[in-house]
Subunit: 275 residues, 2 copies
């Protein structure tokens, strides 16, 4: 029998390749090309427009690091919005914080939610939680219609191509600022410093114009290009580096720790120079 | 014209793949299969027994992080030994420390040195420096014959297959302890936590039996499996986490910073559990 290997070109000249047991689903949705596959090394995986979105084996890194850094920075996050994130992983992590009364998911592509529930049940399982409201629709529009509503907003988007292109604009960050309460915090994934340095520099510059506290942190995600992923945090009042030790409490994680909460902001020199 | 792509299988079911402009050299040496290739994304690269050793584009991470963490931990490193490291990158970084009077390279495979000088000149260039002594020979034997001689020993080896198999044994770490002065420090690369967790656990346990201060730190190396690389440090007296701020001085780096010197020891939870 021939072997099936899936290769994601992370640049024109470099990629990762993984052995596929079987394809679970492929579909051109209204917004993007969706693929689910069972791989030997990483378990079930979700791809959108040919890019790895998440895998059962390493999903915990991204989801924990998006959620817990801002949530432990805010002293009392009650109302949280996730833009994108249809696989449900960020929602699952948010719900580990007992202060959160409501977590809203604004995902543009209902098919991502539908097939994540089927093929990534450990990731999507909490989407049915009563503290969660799922809105299938344009996150950009949802932000535009919200005012002083959220304590924390997390942008769990694809790259700035396809449906996510509006989510990497200064107008969007201004909308986020308006949608946040006066002490709100937001975080957005912003790709990797090896191949997308210009994007990171731009996001940092744009967010800095709007949020008094702007920072960059990283996490190791092996199935993402270069293995080093960046997150931009914009905060109106609370500094993630100033969280007092007594404010951390135990939650079940596999990556995040209270030491990493601060250490993840210590950047390699060539990354620091993008901020 | 057909495209040439080099794929390194990092496990049986996962790998990285890169476009090759041209092969520069291939040779079965006395010890291993040596390949040099010019790649589109990473510049010239060295492979040993099919594994990526270094690339012009990302070599600075590994070489800086092997060298500067122990060298800034030791208050006055004068005599330094590198076991392996025939490409010369660790030597180049060591020489940035003015306290170092002599840096010895014990590389088993003279061909690695020879072809690194030709195809990786920015990495190997300092091997001719008068402060450097190059010994082509078995690092294990060199260690066995040394006593109370070195301030810092760095093990820049391949994986524990082929010529490096002896370098991952308790006997080797005991030899290193003997070869170090009474306040000496050693560091060894010890692979990645995603695919080689058992190896890291074993190295940490073995080193702990011999060195009172044993620690693990990480760095992001995109061309290495998982992008997250581990280093074990064993120290007789000085703790890398206790270096006073005034002890750091400016050196030219692209990855290492004094903040990262400490932050790199803050481990993801699943990695912490291997120590």
């Amino acid at each position: 029998m021939s072997e099936l290997w899936y290769t994601e070109k992370q640049t024109d000249n470099y990629g990762i390749t993984m052995k596929v047991k079987r394809t679970l689903h492929t579909e051109q949705t209204e917004f993007q090309y969706l693929e689910m596959a069972e791989t030997e090394e990483w378990g079930n995986m979700l791809f959108l427009d040919g890019m790895v979105m998440t895998s059962q084996r390493d999903e915990f890194v991204y989801h924990e690091m998006v959620a817990h850094v801002p949530l432990f920075t805010h002293p009392n996050p009650e109302n949280v919005l996730v833009v994108g994130g249809g696989d449900g992983g960020v929602i699952r992590e948010i719900l580990k914080h007992p202060s959160v009364k409501k977590a809203t998911l604004a995902e543009i592509d209902g098919k991502v939610i539908e097939y994540s529930k089927i093929h990534l049940p450990e990731i999507a399982g909490e989407l049915e939680n009563p503290r969660v409201e799922v809105k299938v629709g344009d996150g950009f529009m949802h932000i535009a219609e919200s005012e002083q509503e959220y304590d924390v907003i997390m942008v769990d988007s694809t790259e700035p191509v396809g449906p996510a292109v509006n989510l990497f604009t200064k107008g969007f960050y201004a909308g986020i600022s308006k949608a946040l309460k006066e002490d709100g915090i937001f975080v957005a994934q912003c790709d990797n410093p090896w191949f997308k340095a210009d994007l990171i520099r731009q996001v940092q510059a744009d967010v800095k114009e709007i949020f008094p506290i702007t920072r960059l942190y990283t996490a190791n995600i092996p199935t993402y290009p270069s293995g080093l992923w960046c997150f931009t945090i914009g905060s109106k009042k609370y500094d993630p580096l100033a969280v007092e030790d007594s404010r951390f409490f135990d939650i079940e994680t596999k990556y995040y720790t209270k030491e990493l909460h601060k250490a993840c902001f210590a950047l390699p020199k060539f990354v620091q120079e993008l901020t």
